[in-house]
């Protein structure tokens, strides 16, 4: 009985941890990488070259490399996956 209770307690703690820390999973954040790419392409009139999901402290951030429409300039923008804010 004691073992059963311990198992239940561990399961509950692990479940709570998963629910309360969605920021560590890129799949669970409000802004997807696809959304972020679409947003910055429209905002900067540019095309994405590469994108990667990185952690900035406790936040998930998309690092998106862009090339300008006339292909003359390459730069990087960071998009907060929680807020969609461009850094």
């Amino acid at each position: 009985m004691k073992i059963l209770l311990q198992t239940l307690l561990v399961t509950l703690v692990l479940s709570a941890g998963l629910v309360s820390s969605p920021a560590f999973s890129a799949g669970a954040v409000p802004v997807s990488a696809n959304d972020a790419v679409t947003m910055v392409q429209q905002r900067f009139n540019a095309t994405a070259i590469k994108t990667e999901t990185v952690r900035d402290g406790d936040r998930v951030v998309y690092r998106i490399r862009l090339v300008s429409a006339d292909r003359s300039r390459v730069w990087t923008v960071m998009v907060d996956a929680q807020t969609g804010q461009v850094q």
């Binding site: 696809n34 790419v37 679409t38 095309t47 070259i49 994108t51 490399r65 090339v67 390459v74």
Partner: protein
């Protein structure tokens, strides 16, 4: 004659290369520009040097994205065709943009493992000082 050419068009401050890649067989040819870090190419070169590990071996270099929103997509797969060693490079290239910039090609370039081993060796050496273009040629089997 089959041929591959690599040319650095521009280098960014973080060492990312704007790279021109030409691939030609006796019947087909393609030109592709992509953005790649030298370590990605060096990994490809290293895998080519050790190709093939077995009859089902393949070496893949992929850059860009199949998602049409992205700038480009290129995939080069070197694999064994037959048990006698006959192998091939499969090229898939999607150059996006408006005409006449855009192009979409898919073809195969035949070669022997020793040809692809040499390609890996020469590509690896070239990456140490890529100021001049690299051209590697090999015959059909």
């Amino acid at each position: 004659m089959n041929r591959m050419e690599f040319e650095v068009i521009w280098t960014d401050t973080d060492e990312m290369l704007q790279l021109g890649i030409k691939v030609s067989s006796r019947k087909n040819s393609a030109y592709h520009e992509t953005y790649v870090y030298p370590d990605e190419l060096a990994k490809f070169a290293g895998q080519l040097r050790g190709f093939p590990e077995n009859a089902k071996s393949e070496v893949v270099f992929q850059c860009g994205s199949m998602d049409p929103k992205f700038h480009d997509f290129i995939r080069m797969r070197i694999f064994v065709l037959k048990s006698n060693g006959h192998s091939a490079l499969e090229l898939e290239s999607d150059v996006r943009g408006i005409p006449p910039v855009c192009a979409n090609v898919h073809f195969y370039v035949p070669g022997m493992p020793s040809d692809f081993n040499r390609l890996g060796t020469e590509l690896g050496t070239w990456l140490k000082d890529p100021r001049d273009p690299l051209m590697v040629e090999w015959k059909n089997f």
